[in-house]
Structure formats: structure tokens, C-alpha cells
Amino acid sequence: MTQASFDARAARTRCQRYRRRILDISQRVSALHIGGAFSCTEIVDGIYNELMRKPGLSSPDTFLMSKGHGCMIQYVVLEELGVLTRADLDAYCTPHGRLGVHPDYGNPGIEASTGSLGHGLSMVVGMALAERGKRRDGMIYTVLSDGETQEGSTWEAVLMASSLKLTNIVAFIDNNDFQSLGRTSETHPSLYPLAAKFDAFGWETAEIDGHDSAAIHRAVSARKGDRPLMVVARTTKGKGVSYMENAPIWHYRAPSKDEYAQAIRELETQA
């Protein structure tokens, strides 16, 4: 898709629909990470609906959700793509279902089990090596959390991806600046500027507004492509619902009935 034909309105409509679906699920099961799913909604939407070729089970490209706790957005996108069923999502976190709070390898559309942070990028490197070794042109997409960049294992993988010149990796950091004990920029100020770290490790980098779908598409389509790409996306935790935004309690909490109603009203207003 060219930039001229990028349909920002369609992306916005999809993302509103995804957020609404997640809120609906939150009224049945309270075990979900809404804040971290809403912060990377536009990123995951962009990967599946704008960047991957033939998104779904026959895609030559791969998406691995390294920040596994954000996988609710992946589930609702896969549902809309027909990879997961409505029944799958309705049975989320129930004894008769197969989807849990973190993605499990073996479920349709789930390329790896994550949830423990710091594992995804190494598996992405292995996948990218396999694509190159098998002379295939598959791209490997992934989304990391900013807290995940505190894992030493992430930096082992960062070092290897560029050292191996894996140009078929496109990674995003959902830089929502929050983790369990506070703002990442306050607990780990030395982590910033973040993009410069990846640049120093030999990655191509871009910094964007992670809720700007056109910018997400532009950052990837305009890349030089001679190195792995890291897109540091500034995002807002709980994006789209005023009382959830930048409120750590919404890392892992489901809204009450009244809170749900307010959230739906706000999303409809944004549409």
C-alpha cells in the first residue's frame, strides 16, 4: 500500500472497533491487561492490516507478540481476520476455552508462547535466520514493551540481530512509559533516549507517535532496509478511555459496569 492510498480513517475505525470488543470481553472476564493492549492497538492493527501480506494463516510474514500481556489486541484482530473464532474469544480465560491472558503457541495465529518478558526478540532472530536460510522473503514483525528493554536477554538479541544483518526484522517498542511500579522514565531514566541505544547497536531506528496509524505505516515503508528496524513508538497506556490513560491501576483491571458505559461513550465520541 502506498502512502497516498493509506486510509487513516479505516484504521481509526478498526481500532475503535477493537477497543470496544476488548471492553465487551472485560465485562465477562476480569483477567486482562487493558492498558497495555490499548497502548499498542494502532501498532498491532498496522502490522496485521497494513504491513503483513495476506494476514492470516497463509501469510508469508510472521507476527510475534513479545509483550505477551498485550495479546488481547492480537486476539481481537485475529478474530476479525477469521483466524480465531468468536467462540474462542467468548470462552477467553474459561475452562472450556483455549485462550489465556498470554499467547500460547499452538493456538491459531499465535506464533510463539510469550508472557515472560525478554524472550520474544531472540525467537524473532531465530525465525528471521530460518527465513533467510530457507531463501524465503518472510518478514518477522514483533512488538516489545518498554519495560522489556530492561531484560538483559533483550539486549543479547538486539546485538545478534544487527550483527547477523537480519534485514527481515521489523520491531516496535510500545513505549507507554509505564510498568508496574511507575513511569519507566522515572524508574530507569538512563534507558532514554531509547532509539539512540538501538542506533548504537546497529539497528535502523525511527521514532513516531504510536497512535498515528499513518506514521506507523510510513516508518516501515520508508525504511532503508539494510539493517533490522526498530520503531520506538510513543504511546499512552490505556489510550482511548480518559480515566484509563496513564493510570497504572489499569495495567490489570476490568472496568465496572458504569466505567464500561463511560468508556463506550468516549470511544463513540472519538469516532
Binding site: G106, E111, A112
Partner: protein, 303 residues
């Protein structure tokens, strides 16, 4: 054994373009150099970074490859343990984690380079299979099996260099089955790995005393051949376990469990490393002896 592993893996990689090896800055001994020069895209050196070694191997396997992750045992199993658990075992991927120089082979490098608990640690993981060949020939069989299996992850515990051939006349190697290196009717010695050379010496000395001795390589620690062990307990008057491993979670403790389960009536003696770190230096045999593992001590107990 290290060179045998390398040569066998090179042969398997020649036959199968999906065989990869991910190493963590380990000496390119034997055919490893040949592997890296002839198949550079399938030889990945991550450097001193064992967590990504396992993760990369998992990613390769997720795309249909048959990877090996290879370095000194303590670094291949202990350092990246959670990656082995989550990436390999939870996802049940056919990745072989090779623990080279396991046990106390690195006898002058100190406790940081000893692997006294690896069988217990690896065996505790669901889906994990555990192999420990006793000599270079068994190492060929085990490596070949690992390169061709699709069951799931394997921890392959191997020695380093200079291990004697012990199995030239033995019955065929079979995954998951005890392997009799010799058969007798009086005493049965169950063992595995590099210390099998010491067990062979003990068997020879017992035979010289006129005893009828079975010597068994329990090369597959998981899944353990419970039926085979039960049969050994029932068919011999005296069963002896010799292992280069901590007393808990290895072969000895499992044989005791099986003996209880089958109401075995034979005499059972187990000889293991102690539940203690080793602060001695010297040869491998010096370190084993520091924990009571020497032919003289073992023979004295066997009587």
C-alpha cells in the same frame, strides 16, 4: 566425545539443510570448524550470550529447523534455564541443548564450571528428554538420534575429550532402553556418561574375582527405562548405581524409587557425588574421589 559430537553433527548437517547449530563462544574443536566454514549460515555464534542462544534456537525450530544449542554444560543449561523451560519445553520444540564437559570434567576450573545437578534439573522439565552417552560410539548414536527426532527438546550431556570406547561389542543403542554392555547374573552395575569408564574397571575387577557382572549404560535418563530397571532389580542379587551426579534427582534416586515400587529384594548400593560443592582441584578422578567415587572405595563397599 566433543569431537565425535562435532563430526556426527557435521554429517547430519550435510544430509539435512535444516540442521543448525547455535554456539556460545565455544572452542571450534574437531569438525565444528568444518561445519562453520562449509555451512556458515547454519553456524551461529552468539558469543557469551546463552539466553539468546536458546531463544534463537527456539525461533529456528518454530520455523521448521532442527537446531542444536551448544556450549559448556553449566552455561548451556543453568544460565538460560527459563528460556529452556518456556521457549523449548513449554512449546515442545525439537531443539537439542548440548551440555559439553558435564559433571566435574573441568576439574581445575572450580565449581562455577561443574555440572553436578544437570540431570535432575533437566529431568524436572515437562517434555524434556535427557540423554547421556557413555563413550564416543554412543555419542554418535545419541547425536544422530537428536538430529532426526521431532518429539521435543533434548538435553544431551556429553564429555569432552579422551573418553575410551566401551561399547564396541555392546548390543545396539536404542532410545529409551537400557543397554547391556555385558551380561551377568550376580551383580548389575547401572551407570551412564563418562564415569562408565570407571564402572567398567570396577566390573572387570569384580569379574576377575569370579563374579558374574552385568554392566548397563542407562544412556536415556528421561524417559527412563523403568521396566528395564525393574527387570535388572529382579534378575540380580545385587544392583549398584554409579553416577557422576548429585544424590537427588539422578539415576540413583530413581532406581531406589523403582526398587520400592516393585518390592525389589536385591541388595542396592548407590554411589553418587555428594550434595555439596567441590572445592578441590586436580584431575577429574581426583575430584570424583573427593566425593567417594573411586574404584577402590566402591569395590570395598560392594565387598
Amino acid at each position: 566425545m566433543r569431537n565425535t559430537f562435532s563430526e556426527t553433527l557435521y554429517q547430519e548437517a550435510t544430509a539435512n539443510p535444516d540442521v543448525y547449530i547455535v554456539v556460545a563462544d565455544i572452542s571450534p574443536a574437531g569438525s565444528m570448524g568444518k561445519f562453520s566454514s562449509e555451512y556458515p549460515e547454519r553456524f551461529i555464534n552468539v558469543g557469551v550470550a546463552e539466553q539468546t542462544m536458546i531463544g534463537i534456537a527456539a525461533g529456528l525450530a518454530l520455523k521448521g529447523c532442527q537446531p542444536f544449542a551448544y556450549t559448556i554444560a553449566t552455561f548451556s543449561l543453568y544460565r538460560p534455564f527459563e528460556m529452556i523451560r518456556d521457549d523449548l519445553c513449554y512449546q515442545n520444540l525439537p531443539v537439542t541443548v548440548v551440555g559439553m564437559g558435564a559433571g566435574v570434567i573441568y576439574s581445575t576450573l572450580g565449581g562455577t564450571h561443574h555440572t553436578q545437578e544437570d540431570i535432575a534439573v533437566a529431568s524436572a522439565l515437562p517434555n524434556m528428554q535427557v540423554l547421556a552417552p557413555c563413550d564416543p560410539l554412543e555419542c554418535v548414536e545419541a547425536t544422530r538420534w537428536c538430529a532426526r527426532q521431532k518429539n521435543g527438546p533434548v538435553y544431551l550431556r556429553i564429555g569432552k575429550a579422551g573418553e575410551p570406547v566401551l561399547t564396541a561389542q555392546a548390543e545396539p543403542w536404542q532410545f529409551g532402553k537400557l543397554r547391556y554392555l555385558r551380561r551377568g547374573s550376580d551383580i548389575c552395575i547401572l551407570t551412564y556418561g563418562v564415569i562408565t569408564a570407571m564402572a567398567t574397571e570396577i566390573a572387570d575387577r569384580l569379574a576377575a574375582q569370579g563374579r558374574s557382572v552385568s554392566l548397563v549404560s542407562a544412556h536415556t535418563l528421561k524417559p527412563l527405562d523403568r521396566d528395564g530397571i525393574a527387570a535388572a532389580l529382579q534378575q540380580h542379587r545385587h544392583v549398584v548405581v554409579i553416577e557422576e551426579h548429585a544424590p537427588q534427582g539422578g539415576l540413583a534416586s530413581q532406581v531406589k524409587q523403582i526398587a520400592w515400587d516393585v518390592r525389589a529384594t536385591c541388595r542396592l548400593d548407590t554411589f553418587t557425588l555428594q550434595d555439596a560443592f567441590i572445592h578441590n582441584y586436580g584431575s577429574t578422578n581426583d575430584l570424583l574421589a573427593a566425593h567417594g567415587l573411586s574404584p577402590g572405595r566402591i569395590l570395598a563397599t560392594i565387598g
